[in-house]
Symmetry: C2
Subunit: 367 residues, 2 copies
């Protein structure tokens, strides 16, 4: 795996911890529907894996430094407790063990401090490692959860950095940047397919038969052009700032050409097709969540900080620490006068809520 990126650690103004309000709102929207689905789908009293299990095991994949993960775990536990208590024949509630997974480079120290300071009513553990591979034993987890993590690709497709390929993304930093060839998007899409397959393969092994999985991810509406979404506009602006800096000799052109952001914004149709093709999970629900409230023009700083919390590590690793302040200053200046900040026509990204159930036939279809 090439992926080494992670959110900004710590908890200062530039940290992911302080800049993940958007993600927090999404969890709020999903709480009610998740609870309903857990009541419907969790086979307490029907599946021996759930009866007298001790402890009930939950894992969050891509936890970062924990604020939203903590909330998500609380929401899941609340729903599971309710389900157990409603089983009249045996209303006993198990103990809970919650695993927080992210890449080994994630700031687990900050995560643990945060979780600990909240005195959770469950046992907690951190699990470092890429969720594109196995990080848990077989048939070990009862519920898996992943919020805003699957849009991170495990690697940048090679073709995008290859000057001899039709997918070479010269002078741009993402497939959504204005003017990018359609082959660039296709290369990203292929990588996303491989990543989703690897993710589902691993979770299919780790979840018990009948285990549940909640996925929340950021994508775009079906049929929308990536370059016309707000993220496409933002990445185009960030890219143009880097182009300006390359022209001034602050960074080299080669550096710019070899850099691409590892995000992929899937559509409802694409993700649903991939999950169905995989075959190990039944889709109990697939829906678009309401769009979170976003700060507008009067608070450009918040917009800049939230983009910075997620991307800074990537820019820093590739271009070096010295250019970061200048890059985000230039970005703040350019984005401040752009209609993307207030015009709804750019708001074509979509947050998807997906609720899956591990089929009880534990062999993978077609293998």
């Amino acid at each position: 795996m090439d992926n080494k990126y992670h959110m900004n650690g710590g908890d200062d103004l530039k940290s992911y911890a302080k800049n993940s309000e958007y993600q927090k709102q999404l969890l709020g929207y999903s709480k009610k529907v998740m609870n309903e689905l857990i009541q419907q789908q969790l086979d307490v009293g029907l599946n021996p894996h759930f009866d007298h299990c001790n402890p009930f095991r939950i894992a969050d994949f891509g936890c970062s430094t924990g604020r939203n993960t903590y909330l998500a775990a609380q929401n899941i536990i609340e729903a599971v407790e309710q389900k157990y208590k409603s089983n009249e024949e045996d209303p006993q509630v198990p103990e809970f063990l919650v695993f927080f997974n992210d890449l080994v480079q994630n700031d687990f120290n900050t995560l643990f401090n945060y979780i600990h300071s909240n005195k959770p009513n469950y046992f907690g553990a951190g699990v470092p490692g890429s969720f594109h591979g196995r990080v848990f034993p077989k048939a070990f987890l009862h519920i898996a959860h992943s919020s805003m993590a699957l849009l991170y690709l495990s690697r940048i497709p090679e073709e995008v950095k290859d000057r001899n390929s039709a997918a070479w993304n010269k002078g741009r930093i993402h497939y959504s940047c204005s003017g990018a060839a359609k082959e660039v998007e296709a290369a990203y899409s292929t990588q996303f397919r491989k990543d989703i397959e690897a993710f589902l393969d691993a979770r299919a092994e780790e979840l018990i038969p009948g285990g549940l999985m909640v996925i929340i991810t950021l994508g775009i509406l079906d049929g929308v052009l990536p370059s016309e979404c707000s993220m496409g506009v933002n990445f185009s602006i960030l890219g143009s700032c880097l182009e300006d800096m390359a022209k001034m000799g602050i960074i080299s052109e080669e550096k710019l050409d070899s850099f691409n952001l590892p995000y992929y914004y899937t559509s409802h149709m694409e993700l649903e097709t991939l999950i169905k093709a995989h075959g190990c999970f039944d889709i109990a629900r697939f829906e678009k969540l309401p769009t979170p409230f976003r700060q507008v023009v009067h608070d450009i700083q918040t917009v800049v900080l939230s983009i910075r919390a997620v991307t800074e590590g990537l820019f820093e690793e590739h271009f070096g620490k010295d250019v970061i302040e200048e890059l985000f200053q230039r970005y703040a200046e350019k984005v401040g006068s752009h209609p993307v900040l207030y015009d709804d026509k750019y708001r074509t990204e979509a947050s998807y809520f997906v609720f899956l159930k591990r089929k009880t036939d534990t062999s993978k279809p077609g293998t």
Copy 2:
């Protein structure tokens, strides 16, 4: 819990990671005897908790940043695999899940990087929290392990810091310092008893009936005076350096009087008595390990760094960052001319290896 101390993080010259050779040697000595005992005591084929368990769950309590913990986990897994393979009726080996526990202030980022870089053949997880309380669900662990961690008290007994108490330890930093009243040692001993009881209470709940626990701890030989051990001499010297600094006004006398090191060096007799009185564990083995090779005069720096790796955080928290370099420079000067570095008469500390088995009657006797 008051305990917030932890080993020096990171992996530079002053880190615990680079200064734990002594502990590593102890694990080497214990490997053979531990393997023998696991073959004897692990009830594979006899206890349903071990049959087709998935995964086999091991926890290390007080893992610090991981070098020795990693070795210990390898040794345990090797022995358990051997035991499973020797079960002719069902030689299948389970997957392993190893939990690394330490205080929430421990440097888990360094731990995870180290474990990850060694590509272990097991699943790993970090569990933050004091091992003087519950950190795992009930009847969850198959084997618990703790090396060189139980000598850290959860808190300094109040009397030791109380000027109206006979146990007030004025001008000294430990009960082993030359001239300390016997009431000081008694107060430490009482705290140690409470801590061991809390540790055994928690592990008795977390281990399955028939689960095993390996404890390695540093103590002293039965009947030896603490002030005549090498650690007593070392702490007396460190204390006298602080006294010198108090006289020069570099630190205040009040600061010195309110500082005490939270270590307790138990004896064979004391620890065995406490475990028996607790009642939840059978003692399968209690023995003194060979004394690790120690660096002598020609390498004072190693001695200083190894004491510093363990104590620096405590001194820094109480006296502030500014005095640390001076304190250890003064210590290096004084200890360099002291016979403790080469005279065997001071080597009366002892490392104890204790192998316990959770009784299958899971209620605590007398409760």
